[in-house]
């Protein structure tokens, strides 16, 4: 097997590939939950699949449909989703010297700069294996995430009332699953709890969607005030 620009694969390369494919399968499969929740929240199959194809960063996609399903303004949903996507910019900064891409390759690779492809690249010892981990994971997740989104979207559309299946609770659980690996320090936990408390407090007094952005903002300010040093995790 050959990989463009990297030559023949030796044994340690193959372990990078198999690790990356394992991650791709595990992560791609939960595209089914995004697809189902999205159409059950009222988006069409086309809108759901376009979110996975063009936005392609799970947390932001869940955030967008979460705000829209709660009756919030879709523009507020877009702001929330974009703020959650800020971390991908910092992944890009870390990846740029490892990938050394230009022209159309850089524009194409940018779309698969996500949590998992970054994690599978930055842990490698050589930049050749970093590229291998990045592309196999990124492309693998992209293909499977979109495939499973379509499956879930079609299933979600025929479900009827999403609440009867607990899909509203599944969104909360999905957000908890996304934040869980980041709760590695007392400061991180305090910031997440502050965001939750501030947002809950704002629900009765602001229009839908705003408690999320405002609550998150309050938590970030609190985090800056509390911690001189950045919290743990790879945000």
């Amino acid at each position: 097997m050959r990989w463009p620009g990297t030559g023949r694969l030796d044994a340690s390369d193959r372990s990078v590939v198999s690790d990356s494919l394992g991650v791709a399968v595990a992560v791609g499969a939960y595209g089914v939950s995004f697809g189902a929740i999205s159409t059950a929240s009222g988006l069409t199959v086309l809108q759901t699949c376009l979110l996975s194809l063009l936005v392609f960063t799970g947390g932001s996609q869940f955030a967008f449909i979460g705000v829209v399903a709660a009756g919030g303004n879709p523009a507020t949903g877009a702001v929330t989703a974009t703020l959650l996507g800020v971390r991908n910019m910092f992944y890009g900064i870390t990846l740029a010297p490892l990938l050394r891409l230009s022209g159309w390759r850089r524009w194409a690779a940018a779309q698969v700069v996500i949590d998992e492809s970054t994690a599978m690249a930055v842990t490698r010892t050589s930049s050749r294996q970093a590229r291998l981990g990045f592309f196999v994971t990124g492309i693998g997740v992209f293909v499977l995430w979109n495939l499973f989104t379509l499956l879930g979207a079609i299933a979600g559309e025929s479900l009827g009332d999403p609440r009867a299946y607990g899909l509203d609770a599944a969104v909360g659980a999905a957000f908890l699953g996304l934040v869980w690996p980041r709760l590695t320090s007392a400061l991180a936990r305090a910031v997440a709890l502050a965001g939750a408390a501030a947002a809950a407090g704002l629900v009765p007094v602001t229009s839908a969607g705003l408690p999320i952005v405002l609550g998150g903002g309050v938590a970030v300010l609190l985090g800056l005030a509390l911690g001189r040093r950045p919290p743990g995790g790879d945000a």
């Binding site: 809108q47 879709p74 974009t82 959650l84 890009g92 899909l167 909360g172 699953g177 965001g195 945000a235």
Partner: protein
């Protein structure tokens, strides 16, 4: 064009814009300590807020219903190291069963 389509377009532009910016912008412009710190805090604060609204809000009211025990089940499963997909399914099943019985 409906508001949802506008929201999707804005999300696409925002999220892709950040990705390509990261790969393209000179490192020194974006690695200022405050910027890095804020970028690490944003997912924590926002996801915390998203969880609270998703679990407690019903329109502009706060309610306690089947979503709360469901998120508690999710937390226990995550603490026990259960992977994402089974954890989400278990949370949904908890809420669905509680609604069936009550």
């Amino acid at each position: 064009m409906s508001a949802v389509w506008v929201g999707i377009a804005l999300t696409v532009v925002g999220c892709y814009g950040l990705k390509i910016a990261g790969l393209s912008v000179p490192e020194r412009l974006l690695t200022h300590r405050l910027t890095v710190q804020v970028s690490e805090l944003i997912p924590l604060g926002l996801l915390g807020a998203l969880i609270a609204v998703q679990v407690l809000a019903d329109g502009d009211r706060l309610v306690l219903d089947a979503r709360l025990p469901a998120i508690a089940v999710a937390a226990v499963l995550l603490w026990r190291g259960v992977p994402f997909l089974p954890m989400v399914v278990a949370a949904a099943a908890t809420a669905a069963l509680l609604r069936l019985w009550t």
